[in-house]
Amino acid sequence: MFPGVKVASCAPVDHLVPVLRSDSRDCPLYSLFDVDFEQLRLNTLSKVSQPKFLSPSCVATSSHCTKHKFQAILTLCSVYCEAKVEHTTIPVMFMYVKRMLFTRGLEIQRVRWAGERTLTVFPGTGEPDLEAVAEMVAFLSDIDPFYRWNAAPQPLRIGGAWLTDLQSRRNQQFVAYEEGNLSKIAQLHENMFFNELIAGLWNYGYINDGKVDAQASLNFQRGYEEVLSIWPDFADYSPPSSLSWWGFGFSVGGGERFL
């Protein structure tokens, strides 16, 4: 579904849910959701250790159903704020939502996460794909990584500050290809989520010297909750486990916490 739009007579589009209309600036948000606020308040009070404090982390400890609905409210509030209201009015909208929830016994507080955390790196599963690496090396005999000797249309040329930036940001990758050691190239790609290969391609945060900005976990969690509130089948999805990952995730049945 596409948040913020009303699509009529459009059967093939799945997961249609009530959404905010662009012309309804004063639409009472709570009327759009199938939420029993009193039940929500009672559920929340019984689940969280600090009843008046709802941060993403303690929302995650409440029941899935409650968390889901609560996050849907926050998500659609943010959708409303970001899409339909000028930036200058966002604080007003936020106060409105905060007050609305406060009258029902809930309080929103901003959580500031600072600092860096060290990540444990785990190996992927299976063997590195040396055939794929050989194919990549063969590719580079025809295509220069920066198109320096390939005929490229002017708008697609990699030059100037972009070239300098790319050479610096992807130096290990470039050097590994230049050396042509298949095992070394494979190892670099096996750990792609933990090194420079993912730079510019990952939406949540990057790892430097084994450490990641703690804000990244919040970015992951926000994304998780928001997408789950729109597409419930996101709960069933996990990326492939062939390569080692990091980020926000979950295990069924418990397990050690890394951070």
């Binding site: 579904m1 913020g4 299976g126 794929a132 990584p145 492939p240 926000f248």
Partner: protein, 223 residues
């Protein structure tokens, strides 16, 4: 269920909401395109990223052709990821020259094709690339580069889906973001949808989602 933050593998399920949301948008946009009557099963993604979207789409029966265009370093990262992540025997082709592209076109073009951006013009007559998408990279390009891509959309494209910045906030000193409302879209396309970026995680509040469609396709919709 225990939520976790860290690195690992195996029984722990890590998440990637950004690409999951993109895959849903793509599939729904394909469904919208099909309201124009014909079957739509081909996707061209300009900016492959690490292959997160392609991996998801490859696991849906609806999508038969995925063409990924990017600069070589990204394309190689994407290629290795897909080769390691998709089942053995999956049709993932890394194109190093025009001849290889022509051969794939002649064979109908199904599978996943990774194409260096310098060969973009050769995709003009690739059959069945119904949907073209770009997520968070057009606005990081120069205007002339975006124009180049939009002018050269494949003939078969009927839907353009994107999430990009609409405010010139990011300024790296040598480049300022190009708002998506300032792009020059082909005249045969009309905007049928505009909404927020999902997920709207940090740094993306200035981003928005738009869908442009051929006029004939969009005529069946009420938006």
């Amino acid at each position: 269920m225990v939520f976790r933050w860290g690195g690992g593998r195996g029984s722990y399920k890590f998440t990637d909401p950004w690409h999951f949301a993109q895959s849903k948008l793509v599939l729904n946009a394909l469904n919208l395109a099909e309201l124009g009557s014909r079957s739509c099963r081909g996707v061209l993604e300009i900016g492959s990223g690490y292959g997160g979207l392609a991996y998801l789409l490859a696991n849906t029966p609806k999508v038969e052709t995925i063409v990924l265009v990017d600069i070589p370093l990204n394309l190689l990262t994407c290629f290795y990821f897909l080769k390691r992540s998709l089942p053995e025997g999956s049709n993932v082709v890394l194109h190093a020259n025009q001849e290889s592209l022509e051969q794939s076109k002649a064979q109908g073009g199904t599978g996943i094709h990774l194409v260096p951006s310098i060969f973009y013009a050769s995709l003009h007559d690739w059959p069945g690339l119904d949907l073209v998408c770009n997520f968070a990279s057009f606005s990081e390009m120069d205007s002339e580069t975006v124009d180049f891509y939009l002018r050269g959309l494949p003939e078969s494209a009927s839907v353009l889906l994107q999430i990009n910045s609409n405010k010139p906030v990011l300024n790296t000193g040598n480049h300022t973001e190009v708002p998506l409302d300032n792009f020059t879209y082909p005249s045969k396309f009309v905007k049928i949808y505009e909404g927020p970026c999902v997920p709207s995680d940090s740094g993306k509040s200035r981003y928005k989602t738009t869908i442009h469609s051929l006029e004939k396709t969009s005529s069946g919709l009420t938006v």
